[in-house]
Symmetry: D2
Subunit: 321 residues, 4 copies
Amino acid sequence: MNFDFPLKNLPAVMSGPRVERRRVLVGGSAYWGTIIENGEKAGWLRLDDGRVVDPSLTPHLPPVSPSKIIAVHISYSSRSMETRNKPKPTDTPTYFTKPTTALNGHGGQILKPADCKYLNYEGEYAVVIGKTCRNVTPDEAWDYIEWFTPALDMGLQDFRDTDQGSMLRVKGADTLLPIGPGLVRGVNLFDQTLRTYVNGLVVQEAHIGDETIWGPHYVIADIARHITLLPGDVILMGTPCHSRSIDPGDVVECEITALGRLAGTVTAIDTPRAAPLGVGHPPTDSAEVRRVALGFDERVPERFKQNLQSARGIPNEKAGR
Amino acid sequence: MNFDFPLKNLPAVMSGPRVERRRVLVGGSAYWGTIIENGEKAGWLRLDDGRVVDPSLTPHLPPVSPSKIIAVHISYSSRSMETRNKPKPTDTPTYFTKPTTALNGHGGQILKPADCKYLNYEGEYAVVIGKTCRNVTPDEAWDYIEWFTPALDMGLQDFRDTDQGSMLRVKGADTLLPIGPGLVRGVNLFDQTLRTYVNGLVVQEAHIGDETIWGPHYVIADIARHITLLPGDVILMGTPCHSRSIDPGDVVECEITALGRLAGTVTAIDTPRAAPLGVGHPPTDSAEVRRVALGFDERVPERFKQNLQSARGIPNEKAGR
Amino acid sequence: MNFDFPLKNLPAVMSGPRVERRRVLVGGSAYWGTIIENGEKAGWLRLDDGRVVDPSLTPHLPPVSPSKIIAVHISYSSRSMETRNKPKPTDTPTYFTKPTTALNGHGGQILKPADCKYLNYEGEYAVVIGKTCRNVTPDEAWDYIEWFTPALDMGLQDFRDTDQGSMLRVKGADTLLPIGPGLVRGVNLFDQTLRTYVNGLVVQEAHIGDETIWGPHYVIADIARHITLLPGDVILMGTPCHSRSIDPGDVVECEITALGRLAGTVTAIDTPRAAPLGVGHPPTDSAEVRRVALGFDERVPERFKQNLQSARGIPNEKAGR
Amino acid sequence: MNFDFPLKNLPAVMSGPRVERRRVLVGGSAYWGTIIENGEKAGWLRLDDGRVVDPSLTPHLPPVSPSKIIAVHISYSSRSMETRNKPKPTDTPTYFTKPTTALNGHGGQILKPADCKYLNYEGEYAVVIGKTCRNVTPDEAWDYIEWFTPALDMGLQDFRDTDQGSMLRVKGADTLLPIGPGLVRGVNLFDQTLRTYVNGLVVQEAHIGDETIWGPHYVIADIARHITLLPGDVILMGTPCHSRSIDPGDVVECEITALGRLAGTVTAIDTPRAAPLGVGHPPTDSAEVRRVALGFDERVPERFKQNLQSARGIPNEKAGR
């Protein structure tokens, strides 16, 4: 990872006691609370008003209200290697955006329209901006990161062929950004391991410190050259190799050690009403769509491929399709 | 233009009387007001509290506070023809997004960093969403449009090579979306003409009804297949031919008859502090950058090219560069 | 009711077909949907993305996100009569505010701290502002009302003695404003009847058209003399007679015919941590507190008093306390 | 001042280098910037994008976007003494709220309607909340304060008789809360002196450490017993003695040493359109109105009274009216 790595000094967001904040619905109101770290009630959520609830029984809301969400295309070495058919190794990160209407909370339904075939998971971590940030250096950028959180950057790859690379329809549909379960600070991000699970089996895995090409401080300094980041803005930091398509009924999870484990369930939804009228670019099943949706299995660890087949009940001979 | 054109029934947003709302700064507060349409004070702005001010002497704020801004790549036939080197005529619109931090008001400074060369204008109209919109047909979509307004979808083409088509850096930098001067309803959009001016001379012109490939109702129905549009969201409807690069000191305006005339001034700004540290994709002057920044002059009306040269004080022989 | 009543022309918000919008949590995301009015699925909620859910099984969020909430002290004749010990009949309405953090949704928990004794219900209807409104007449004000909705203006009367009438602590605590279940338009508000229930028995009742002293158009015109109302702002329109105190475990509902039936459950919560340190005005049980919390039973219909006793399992001889 | 005073440890918001952030309009866009503390350009504003502007020539916006604004009625000993005719000395603070539409920036117009007579100034400091705060102790409350800023809590005392103490119309009208010029941290609030000026002459003065009855930490702990404070929420901390009424054309300023000097100009505005229709409580000139608007001169230092007369060009014999 470039720029100041290993870190000479642990930035504030990685220092000091772990704090995890969640936003949940109790009755008809959203409340913030803090996860109890120690003692008999460890793991329970203490709402700010003093009530203590079992988070596993409490509906979660997205713990962020950003003005914008910016995602790194590729910032893991395994993902970079997997998608190697790019003309040449990129030497700077590239980005796209997701609208805030894509936000989803822990335990959410991830919608797959009936006319779509390829809904890919991408387990990631996200950083949340703490104060207005513009025109900073990578070293300074650490001061503007307030929280880390797991995220799932889901993509409807059926729309890969349209929007000329902006991925508005691929990545921007409602529900395609589960995030949470909570916001965490006080842990060393680079010591953590990210794992994505489908129906309980590991299908992606990366040690963040080992695999990261660009750290969040670099990414923030890059974006903030021209764009003001506001408090609450979310940066999605990319996924490691083996993003694949899943189907209604599949449960997908992104776990980052010390940050938490975020779950969502793929849920079928009707074809949009405008589609049969011929409005808009239809879902397609082109070579390019399949290239990204199905991935490049040669360089992916065998156990991820086998886990995905087992998880989805696919006989082995169809492995890798 | 496809889908129900010419319109059988004028939608409410196009049905009279004309109303124009502006948001201005008086003293230290932002106020909404309505342009006086008739009588002695016609053209003045009546603030909602009763004060009447001369809008030409009053700083304007952007008249929108969207949760997201979505832009059509191409929806004018002249622009489609100019950029004809696309593989084949697109048969559905494609989109990208601009972050809300790019918003700028009438009379604003449009920032061009010292290390960039190509800042292109694109005169457009925008529509503003009036109520939560998802899963609608084109016919229904008209009910969700509350306002029309001129806009300038400025682009730093130096970053054309990066972001793999999302145009985050090309179109997303702070100040690159002047919008206003106000929000207008009660006029027939398809009877209007759009003109972009540089230093007072016309450099783009299109009759909206004649040139539009996809109307805003179609675009909204297309996006809302998968993405919820919220009240206040902004859709930029594309530009006609002859988007070109301008320099600090140039004044660019987008006038749409019956909607208003929006102005901005290109203003120099320092190279970002992270740039000399080697952070991020640098501005480039590649063939692809020049292709888009400089355009394709063969199909552009001669008077636009000559006006642009005159406006910028460029001797004729350098026309079209 | 003063000003233009009976209405000469039904305002748009009261005119044809009924529309009800709700905001619910499905999985981890909030969605808007519309209640199905007719046919086999009447009463179910169609989310904007096409899913149809049973609203009785779906957590509700507050259907409003106001910048401010303004409440009328008294605008029903029965309430005015009950609290007759005011020096003289008020001839203009008076107002207070509730912070937006007091908002609660249908089915919510209404929190009663352990050190408080008197949590009073007040069934009301609310109006939601549709567009920026300042300096209007009562006739014009109708155009700025977009929705009606039931509400419960709960009050911790233990703090009646403090805040010199602002009622910040009485009415402003978290959860003290259940609102919903949805937003409704297209019904004639003045033909409706409001009923408050405790544990299923009617404890307040008023025909809105018969009992209203000031209509919402008058109230909006009054407030907007000096204060800009923004889209989404909420005005609470006061309660009829027989606001009384209830306890943890009690279920309180406000039903307004044609608008819906809003429920909440009083829930115990610990005494705030700062209270035993001696911070702030403590809850008190003064004569003034009891006067408002317990009310004036002489002028209240007998059946409301008896219903409240039955609902709360109180023997008859303690009636009226 | 009660609770931990003098402070044993300086809280973070009072420690370390002074930082001042302002929000200004340049062209048509709002930008955040930081005041340059040292060197040749000391006192100028460096926008986050690198531009340096003269703040005295740049329109200011309110530097806050709160969800709510809560004000202490009285927290200065001199004000408490002046208004001594309250039944007995209050032993806990009391509060009211101002709607966010009352916000005004440095250099703003403070509107006085033609039918009103008494617009009183109250110079104050405000604190801005940095993170979600509920159920805290006074010691903990310091961690939730992010900024200090001068404020003017203006009041239209003509409406003193209405709203039963909520002061919605007295304190809540548009423009009645100038705040700024910027947000400051890194200074010891209790070492500062507050001064209010009318037309350049001092009319209120208090040393904050000497005069404060309740510190902001106490006030936050008090409110947060029942009400969640959100990031950006504003608490107005009360005014010292000698709040008096001023007229259109008068310039009022609140200076707090080390925080800044905030200015506004009283500006005449027409009587609201609904007023001649008989809508709402009219402005009155009752004994109670005059009691508060004109104040109690006996206990006010002579020089403040004389300065106010001089500032407003009132012959001495009319002193104190």
